[in-house]
């Protein structure tokens, strides 16, 4: 935890990562306050206002059903951030628990868990997620479940590697000698020491999870209309891209900014945590 605090302190010297952090914080605020910030109901269909260009009444224009794109993007922030956070929490917790078990107990348990991780890593993540969502029926829950299923092995591998080196250290030996239970050793002594890499990986993966969710939404295997999901909104505008460019463009820009913010923040955290880069 002290390591994490020092990293956050170092982050203050990195303007790009700070910018990333700012955009991330802003997105979370927008997601939380969506009902107060959105000028219109994101689901309200209004045929007389179809495909209005950006203007004073509709800041970012309207889509093919006359819905206000600005309001839909604001609500879409909620969907994307929620998907990202649940996916990362779900996969990081599952992966960490399995990685702790594999690294600490070794032997057969390690072998089974890591071979299982290898199987999931034998597919490109997005392709496996596509197969899962197609099989489960595309939906918000399906997207979250599919993306969590494909993301956990990274955490299991990461944690297992760290546990292997930590469990040989003197303080673990000492804890064992004082008769502490294995449960207590794993959760009170080992887990706090593997938290930093998990946090960094999680930040980098948040951007990836949001991108993957929007890709699933775009191809029709993710969150289903009329829910204002950015990828599905960009897909809605496909047929109008030439003359009503705003329908696809603004959702695309929203994804771009949020994903870039998480990438900048994750890169900054990684650089700050890497001792070789820290002193350069």
């Amino acid at each position: 935890m002290r390591e994490l605090r020092r990293t956050l302190h170092l982050l203050r010297t990195m303007p790009l990562s700070l910018f990333g952090l700012g955009v991330v914080v802003l997105s979370v605020i927008v997601a939380a306050l969506a009902p107060s910030l959105a000028p219109y109901d994101p689901l309200e269909i209004n045929y007389s206002d179809r495909l209005f260009p950006p203007g004073w009444k509709n800041l970012l224009g309207t889509d093919s059903l006359g819905r206000d794109i600005f309001s839909r993007i604001i609500y879409g922030t909620r969907i994307s951030i929620v998907i990202g956070i649940i996916v990362i929490l779900g996969s990081a917790i599952t992966g960490t628990l399995l990685g702790l078990g594999a690294g600490y107990f070794g032997g057969k348990i390690d072998n089974i868990i890591m071979r299982l991780a290898d199987i999931f890593l034998a597919f490109p993540g997005l392709v496996l997620a596509m197969a899962f969502t197609a099989a489960m029926k595309p939906s918000l829950e399906g997207t979250i479940l599919a993306l969590s299923i494909v993301a956990w092995p990274t955490y299991a591998r990461l944690v297992r590697g760290s546990v292997l080196s930590i469990k040989e250290l003197d303080f673990i030996e000492a804890a064992r000698a004082t008769g502490e239970s294995e449960f207590s050793i794993i959760f009170n002594h080992i887990l706090p020491n593997v938290m930093s890499p998990i946090v960094i990986q999680g930040t980098l993966d948040l951007g990836r999870a949001i991108m993957r969710a929007s890709s699933l939404g775009f191809i029709g295997l993710g969150v289903q209309p009329p829910t204002p999901e950015w990828g599905a909104m960009a897909a809605d505008g496909r047929d109008y891209i030439l003359n009503q460019w705003w329908v696809s463009t603004f959702p695309g820009l929203a994804i771009f900014f949020v994903v870039m913010a998480f990438n900048l923040l994750g890169d900054g955290l990684r650089d700050a945590m890497d001792p070789r880069l820290r002193y350069k």
Binding site: I119, P124, G125, F132, L221, F256
Partner: protein, 336 residues
Amino acid sequence: MRLHEYIARRLAMTIPTLLGLTLLTFVISHMVPANPAFLYLGERATPEMLAEFNRAWGLDQPLYIQFIRFVIGFFQGDFGTSTWTRHPVLEDLVRYFPATLELTAGALAVAMIFGVLFGVISAVKRNTVIDYVVRAVSLIGASMPVYWLALVAMSIVYLRLGLVSPGRLSSTISPPSHVTGLYLIDSLLTLNMTSFADAFVHLILPSTILASWIIAPVVRQTRAAMIDSLAQDYTLAAKAKGLPERVVVWKHALRNALIPTVTVIGITFGGLLAGSVITETVFYWPGIGSYMLHSTFQVDFAAMVGGTAVIGILYTLINLVVDLLYGAIDPRIRYG
């Protein structure tokens, strides 16, 4: 460890992965909510027809028997029959695969050429405006949704400027005689230069867009490795000998910096396969990705499962090749 021992060990490690891959594919195929018999026979099927179908396809057998049959079929290339095209899935995949291969190979070429070029320039001009611009562009590329970039590029190049039409060839050009299914290679083999030029022009935009999916890590890796390599004794010695800067950078330093870059390209290939699914749908590119998606929307899951399995196998084999290459290039890996 000798090289052949390393190869044997690495090959042996691939077998459980492939078996696991079949297990996961089997699980996915059994998660499908719809009854395959209904999908194949239609909603009006009688109970007798359903029972007959289940018997014929072994669906009345216990699960473990079904799995064993699935594994045997899998390794014989039997992924079932598509209810949409009514062809064996393998036959369809073989037909659609060359288009995907051509697209990903094109993207790989673009990513390697420009990724390495920009990485080297960025390292040589470290901390100058050029370096910042290259890094900013690669960061933007990494954060841009590939489908959106594809949409925008297509609307400008295809629709607004009317330079090319979607797909692999113009409607007025007939495909070259089938040899490999890869239009570029086939038109060269049959000396059909008109279709070669047309296929090449059609490939440029989709493969460039797909390359944007992986170009950022290639630039980043090349830049880091080049900065390292430029500070090494052998580079300084080459400089001290009075060799021109061009030779030192592109011959001495780059050659050593390329090893980690090759690995990154191997690792990102999986991303390329995933990205191709998305790119194909936007560009109406008739590859495996388009086929899988179209079948899924026709409630035909055999194609999705078969396609996923084939992509998984391909991905596993590419990782194997990259590992073997890496082991051959760098002896430290073998002994590690």
